[in-house]
Symmetry: C2
Subunit: 107 residues, 2 copies
Amino acid sequence: MNTDNTKSQMRKGMLEYCIMLLLHRQPCYANDIIQRLHEAEMIVMEGTLYPLLSRLKKDGLLGYEWRESTQGPPRKYYTLTADGQEALTQLDAGWEEISRTVNFLKQ
Amino acid sequence: MNTDNTKSQMRKGMLEYCIMLLLHRQPCYANDIIQRLHEAEMIVMEGTLYPLLSRLKKDGLLGYEWRESTQGPPRKYYTLTADGQEALTQLDAGWEEISRTVNFLKQ
DNA sequence: TACAATACCTTGTATCGCAAGGTACTAAAG
DNA sequence: CTTTAGTACCTTGCGATACAAGGTATTGTA
């Protein structure tokens, strides 16, 4: 079997939650997010992250501001909006529910 | 925002894991699975479950046997194969990893 | 024989993660 | 001034999945 694929599927949707958890603490730009999630043992690809950030921005959950960089082009620093905070609260509940379900099934 | 969709996405892939956790304990047929997962607060649709069971069967993770029913047509009772047990162990590790990641990000 | 209940399965749609590739800006080297 | 390397942002095409809706087959009862 290809458990890698299944594990990848298990991460689906979790990414959105993890990114919002991250931005809840501090503004980040794309490479920040990739690196910090990597430290948390969650691998994210660029091709996954950018469309996700754009979607959350479009849904009003994220905002961003441009900041200059000393070593290259300017960066988009994303932050949680008020709606984003509220959505995060609901996703916290969703995570708790999944967690309860798994622990219940595992006994 | 539509957090329902996000929650649905968060469950993606988890379903496979939860079903295997369930079958690890006892053989079940489709409606058993739907009902037991419902008790564990995880909603599954028929149109989701049947293709998933077929796929796991095809991958050699599940086997099944027909059993007569006193109230209707016979039922397919699915069980975990040896390969399925092994895959379940790997998925346990995957779940632990995700769980660690989320808890790390939540501090 | 007709009908309802149960059980299994298929098709079409939307969404997502990912690999690959592309564009634009900055700074340093020639 | 031009070229090159590095950084940052974004898009396209593909495979996989959950779900809604609809279909088929078997059983028992009226």
